[in-house]
């Protein structure tokens, strides 16, 4: 039945994470961007919200929460409203933990979930993106070749968050010889492999220098004949539904894009009411007011598309089309709204005294990141 009302629990999550974003993330954002580093205390405080440990079973150190993609989207929007780089840093271990919670074997859960279900922030992540203009989840250049005892992984990855300090990764690769339909749902042959940091042949190449997200440490990764056991494939004998993982990831990306867009909209709205020109606030001019009106409605539209996909995933549906369109729509809204916000601030938007230029640089990343990358 059509309903637009959040549950009480969801409201609580939104408000709690929202307050954290307002009080702790936002004030630290500019400094983190300039220094290309996030204060460890802040990361720890974010960790204490339990967003990564939540869905991990209690006996493995988590809180045993029922995972909801929609509730996760609410938290992601709030975190990203505070700052995208910090949001992605604190959410990165989810990329490792959640697929194992949902699709790992008992043995994989018991072995790897305790790594991230601890009181202290633990870095972990996923290696998905590849340094190619035509990056394509359904045709990854990174391969996993069955070699009798397990798999050999070969390829290059980029935009791998926290790789230097991560204890383990999920490495996404195209499994050679995988029969169509058996693995990955719509993403035939796409599989995830659990690779520990010390694995032979795995090299963390260098920290990347990106246009935005400067505070988020991302790395290039090289896989030179990295040998993993047969049990390292997520789900082992029952290959993981990576199409579902990609859809969940797209929802998280979309929610973060909504958060960034909302931040920029609110900032421009407040500025336009303060800033006077020709004897009145610029917000009283239709040229500005109409831009703000469109920004407001586009943020809402992007959020509703995101919630729609999230709600379908929570019902166990595929949401392939819905998650994809939510992500693309939200990404373009984030870019348009941050750009419009900068335009409303004029020259002040261009200087680093205001956060708007930072949001514009960060928002540009959404078009680049595909499902399973970054969040």
């Amino acid at each position: 039945m059509i309903d637009f009302e959040l549950s009480d629990e969801q409201k609580m999550v939104r408000d709690t994470v929202g307050a954290f974003a307002r009080e702790q993330i936002r004030p630290a954002a500019r400094q983190a961007d300039e220094a290309a580093a996030i204060p460890p205390d802040l990361v720890q405080h974010a960790w204490n919200l339990g967003l990564v440990r939540g869905p991990v079973p209690e006996k493995l150190g988590g809180f045993g929460d029922q995972r909801s993609v929609l509730t996760g989207a609410l938290a992601a929007e709030e975190l990203a409203w505070g700052d995208l780089a910090i949001a992605m840093h604190v959410a990165a271990p989810q990329l490792f933990a959640f697929p194992i919670v949902e699709m790992g074997t008992d043995e994989q859960r018991q072995r790897f979930l305790p790594l991230v279900a601890t009181d202290r922030f633990t870095a972990a992540g996923a290696a998905t993106m590849e340094p190619r203009y035509d990056f394509d989840l359904s045709a990854l250049a990174t391969t996993a070749t069955p070699d009798g005892s397990g798999f050999t992984l070969r390829g290059e990855k980029c935009c791998v968050p926290l790789a230097d300090e991560a204890r383990a990764f999920l490495v996404y690769a195209r499994e050679e010889g995988a029969s169509n339909g058996s693995a990955g749902g719509e993403l035939h042959g796409l599989q995830a492999f659990i690779v520990e940091r010390e694995a032979s042949g795995l090299t963390v190449v260098e920290r990347e220098k990106n246009m935005g997200l400067k505070a988020l440490a991302t790395y290039q990764l090289k896989l030179d004949d990295v040998k993993v056991s047969r049990d390292a494939r997520l789900g082992a004998e029952r290959p993981a539904d990576t199409a579902r993982l990609a859809a969940q990831s797209r929802v998280a990306l979309a929610a973060m894009a909504v958060g960034v867009a909302r931040a920029a909209f609110e900032y421009a709205r407040d500025y336009a009411k303060e800033r006077h020109a020709f004897g009145a606030p610029i917000a009283t001019k239709q040229a500005i007011a109409f831009m703000l009106a469109e920004m407001a409605l586009e943020v809402d539209a992007a959020r509703l598309l995101t919630w729609q996909a999230a709600s379908m995933l929570d019902k166990g549906l595929k949401a392939l089309k819905e998650s994809s369109r939510a992500k693309h729509y939200a990404a373009s809204v984030a870019l348009k709204v941050t750009d419009n916000a900068l335009q409303i601030l004029g020259g002040h938007g261009y200087i680093r005294e205001h956060p708007v230029e930072l949001w514009l640089r960060n928002a540009r990343g959404f078009a680049t990141f595909e499902g399973l990358a970054i969040v």
Binding site: T284, A296, L304
Partner: protein, 403 residues
């Protein structure tokens, strides 16, 4: 809890409306577009009879249906029927916008008196007249006057762009709700709604417009020349109070804007379905969720159009849902209307472009849908007026502070 799935009963209704759209509207769509001022009598009779059965079955008149998801059901119905034909949808006999005004501003006795005619008998129409030759969006600038004279209100002025005006006044025992000022110096507070029934002395239809689209829908110009209506035909209180009058017009818009948004979406969906079916015949399936570099320009356009439509639909559902919940929705209704009107205008124009000469040809309905779609960007508040309302709400400005 957040949910975007229609409940089974609503889904059943949707299927029913889709059948009506497909089998009763589509087949006569082109005919009444080409023969602009002809009346689709058979369609009116059939749909009126069907509606009467439904009204009796539910034991309610069409205009004051109550219930948990009334507005949501209405927007879903509007989308489905406008997938069939937006002009025919607007022409369906019933209380219409006039009925909505009675329901919003009338007393219980007035609702009973004016709306009961829609329960049975011959097909009838209700209409609403606000716009004048000299004022459209600025409805507070209305110049039509209402003067008290003994047991009557005497109305003088000219109204235009009155949907179903001719059918209400000349082709059925209907009525037009005419907005007129009882006190020009009071501004908005002085604007009041009057029910003008067929046969009232001094009212006449002076023109029926010829239009770009929705041609089967009658758009009338009405002259009120010392038109005398009984005292009890003023809806609500005749007193000039800051809270009454014009506010009721706005309350009507909160309910009708989501419907217009849904109409737009129905037309847009018709265009998209046409393109999709056509591509399918050419063995071209739209591939979703593939890498952007592998997508064709056509796929990218199509997915973008579909997403725009879905975004508008969700905004529309939200606005209707709020109304069902009794939550004030002026902001959200205007968001939905602005988004749907502009998106569908673009989507239908793009669809014509994609189909090349086939899109431009009157052999297919696609070009008609492009013409029909545009009205949704204009009536019930132009896109610009709706953006203005959104802007005022998000900025906390009054209509004086942001003009």
């Amino acid at each position: 809890m957040i949910d975007f799935e229609l409940e089974p009963q609503v889904l059943e209704r949707t299927k029913f409306f889709h059948t009506v759209a497909e089998h009763m509207m589509r087949p006569i769509s082109r005919q009444y577009d080409e023969q602009e001022h002809e009346e689709p009598r058979e369609f009116f009779e059939t749909i009126w009879k069907g509606g009467a059965r439904e009204r009796q079955a539910s034991g309610e008149s069409g205009a004051d249906r109550k219930g948990g998801a009334r507005n949501l059901t209405t927007v879903i119905m509007a989308e489905e029927l406008c997938w069939g034909d937006a002009g025919l949808f607007l022409s369906i006999p019933g209380p219409g916008l006039g009925g909505a005004a009675v329901a919003a501003a009338g007393t219980a006795e007035q609702k009973e008196r004016f709306l009961k005619r829609f329960k049975d008998g011959e097909p009838k129409w209700g209409a609403m007249a606000i716009t004048e030759p000299g004022c459209g969006s600025d409805s507070a600038a209305i110049t039509t006057t209402a003067r008290r004279e003994g047991d009557y209100w005497v109305l003088n002025g000219t109204k235009i762009f009155c949907t179903a005006g001719q059918r209400a006044l000349e082709k059925s025992d209907g009525f037009v709700v005419v907005w007129a000022t009882v006190d020009k110096s009071a501004g908005r507070a002085g604007i009041k709604p009057f029910v003008v029934e067929r046969g009232t002395p001094g009212v006449s239809v002076i023109r029926v417009e010829s239009k770009l689209g929705i041609r089967v829908s009658d758009t009338a110009a009405i002259m009120l020349d010392n038109c005398r209506v009984p005292l009890d035909h003023i809806l609500g209180s005749p007193k000039v109070e800051p809270s009454g009058g014009f506010k009721d017009v706005m309350a009507t818009f909160d309910a009708t804007r989501p419907i217009v948004a849904a109409m737009a979406i129905g037309v847009g969906r018709a265009a998209l379905d046409f393109v999709r079916d056509f591509l399918r015949d050419q063995r071209l399936e739209i591939r979703y969720a593939i890498a952007p570099t592998r997508m064709t320009a056509l796929e990218r356009d199509f997915i973008e159009m579909e997403t725009e439509l879905e975004a508008a639909r969700l905004l529309t559902w939200r606005a209707a849902w709020m109304l069902d919940r009794g939550i004030r929705n002026s902001l959200e209704a205007s968001m939905a209307k602005a988004k749907a009107g502009s998106s569908v205008t673009r989507v239908t124009q793009k669809a014509v472009e994609i189909m090349g000469p086939l899109g431009y040809s009157r052999k297919y309905l696609l070009e008609k849908w492009m013409r029909d779609a545009k009205i949704n960007d204009i009536f019930e508040g132009t896109q610009q007026i709706n953006l203005l309302i959104v802007a005022r709400r998000i900025l906390g400005y009054s209509s004086k502070e942001l003009t």
